[in-house]
Point group: C2
Chain length 395, copies 2
């Protein structure tokens, strides 16, 4: 059997709760990103039941594929913690401990016949600290000299995956075989990821991003960043501020902005005007606008954005209103929404009418992304988004 | 080799972006929950790279463990979509199609030498519709009569995992071997999950939940629900309303409440008072309180909760203020926070001082959970939470 390359790592997550969907895993993606960013190759992630025999089997398979295995979970003090007994089932030298600086259960290092095994706790903060400080340095030392790698990404908003691929087609035929391109569709977004290996990785990746940016034009909302991060950077560079007025998205738009470190430089605050009367009292929508348009309307979104901009003394106001579902509201089907941006010069609105059924979370994320994108277009002085009204919103 | 039981299913997720952490997987947990809730046994989840040989290998292993495999991702129109070529690498009968009602790429059913393979798209909405309408009925038909199963869970707030386990120890020794107990620690919460199989499953699970509830007392914040869901139910039953004033959590507290269908019956709205001056102007905190306490203080949290309750005409007000980090603020270390609840009778405050370093997301989630828990204690007329002030908050 072929020996796995020294820079390959497999991740094993232990826990019935991950198989039954009681817990959405976050450790796997954090480990994947951390190890990949350090230059290692993550060749698999496997979730095992809380059963020592299953854990042994999964670890043995992982050691067939990779030079090292990182196991998280099942190390705790309670009866469902099975990783220690499973480690005893591997043919291996003596166990050594990894110290736990932010919790109680130590980790384990095991030099097995098939490769190295690192067992770390499942509690994210403990896992992250132990991996960063103790596991990653050992993995890198064992991997030896790594070839230069570069990963760059574009966040494209308002264009479907197939259109993104069509637009990038001329570029793809010119890329070297060492460049892989992935398309990751999200609600209202497509992430395009370029990955390169070799001495020219950085230069070639930069050229690919540049060329892709030209083919995609102003649909590119962020480079190597989330749209929220890119927006906070752009607002800070201009010394301008923003405030939010949310109905449909109920705080998610604000939460997305404050998730960016340093957001307090540009984000003033906002209101969640969920009940109809609070759209007037908190967000400053004139009652005549509410009476004329109802709560789910382009004019109401524009008035919310304008009202919150004035009340929060910000340069821009951003607003969302719509129907998350599952039931219609005031005759509007679930998935209908309007997002607006207000500036001193006037308001801009994107109106969205659903073509397929979407769940509440997806409808809200669509509205958040379109609202952020409309703000980006306003901040950068760009032309109309798809779905944007031709006329400024009527008041 | 042992033939896998007819009710076993393995899940395979295809995508480099899941291995490199560019995308946090949500399909695996949705599939795990949906199949488990239907009575099937999910015995593994594996993430494979975008490489047809790796996908074949992962599917072959999955078919050793399970009677059926559900593969998601890699079916799209772009160059990184490798599942179709991988399916061609399995020894199998003719392919049949699954229709895609909400997208473009059809799914595939394949009757292989080792078991059934169902390939569905990676776009969550398309995957969910196809699995619910076409894959799950086929899996259940193939599994035959399933033994009765019951899963019940308790959400415990404000007690560490080890203490939860200690308190439940007397119960665990009395449970039958057919009952498994899992402890899932989250920021400020521990989820205790009981799983039972057999004719007495429902009755035994109900008895276990009842006994556990008595041992854990008023630390149980929800049964079979998230704390947000339980709280919306309790507020609705009493015909009372709530409003939120957020600094630290920047909209997450409101977003958690509106994530519950029907939240509009009880959630009025709120403010995100991120900038200092907006704590006065939007949240109605008297300037004297801000001047005396600063922004990160028990008295300020209490005044925010009180102010937003009045401005939103709600029965309860809930507020958060604190330091997410990574830097200290006004001399308070990252992780410090205060959450408050206001009612006509007065205010209650929990103050939290960090003992270990936590990331911004974790600090925010801690504050959201403690704020919801303090509201729960107030709504149900329960005694003090750990960390709650002995005296009503000073104004």
């Amino acid at each position: 059997m072929r020996t796995p390359a020294a820079d390959t790592v497999a991740i094993v997550l232990v826990g019935d709760e991950l198989l039954s969907g009681h817990t959405a895993d976050r450790n796997g993606s954090w480990l994947g990103r951390t190890l990949t960013d350090a230059g290692l190759r993550v060749i698999g992630i496997t979730v095992s039941p809380d059963n020592p025999f299953a854990v042994v089997r999964v670890m043995q398979r992982a050691l067939e594929d990779a030079a090292a295995v990182v196991v998280t979970g099942g190390l705790g003090p309670t009866s469902d913690d099975v990783t220690r007994p499973a480690l005893a089932g591997l043919r291996a030298g003596p166990q050594r401990q990894l110290t736990n600086r932010v919790g109680t259960e130590p980790g384990v290092v095991l030099d097995t016949d098939g490769g190295m095994v690192y067992a770390v706790p499942g509690v994210p903060a403990e896992m992250r600290t132990m991996v960063t400080e103790q596991v990653l340095p050992r993995l890198l030392a064992a991997a030896g000299a790594l070839p230069p790698r570069a990963t760059r990404s574009l966040t494209v908003v308002g264009v479907r995956e197939t259109e993104v691929a069509e637009r990038l087609h001329p570029l793809l035929t010119t890329l070297s075989e060492k460049c892989t391109v992935s398309y990751l569709p999200r609600p209202a977004e497509v992430h395009v990821v370029f990955r390169l290996t070799g001495d020219e990785a950085e230069t070639s990746a930069a050229a690919a991003v540049q060329a892709a940016g030209e083919l995609l034009g102003d649909f590119v909302a962020a480079v190597d960043q989330r749209i929220e991060e890119s927006l906070v950077t752009a607002l800070r560079a201009r010394g301008v501020t923003v405030a939010t007025a949310e109905s449909l998205t109920g705080g998610l738009l604000a939460a997305g902005l404050v998730s960016v470190p340093g957001a307090s430089d540009v984000f003033r605050g906002g209101v969640v005007a969920y009940a109809r009367d609070l759209k007037a009292e908190l967000a400053g929508v004139p009652r005549a606008v509410l009476d004329r348009n109802g709560t789910v309307a382009a004019g109401t979104a524009a008035a919310m954005a304008d009202g919150v901009r004035r009340r929060c003394h910000s340069v821009f106001g951003v607003a969302t209103t719509g129907v998350a579902g599952p039931d219609p509201h005031d005759g509007h089907p679930p998935g209908t929404f309007h997002v607006a941006v207000s500036a001193a010069a006037g308001q801009r609105v994107i109106s969205y009418r659903p073509t397929v059924t979407r769940d509440r979370d997806t409808v809200r994320r669509l509205a958040v992304v379109h609202a952020l994108d409309l703000l980006r277009r306003t901040v950068h002085g760009l032309g109309r988004a798809r779905g944007e009204s031709e006329q400024p919103a009527a008041r």
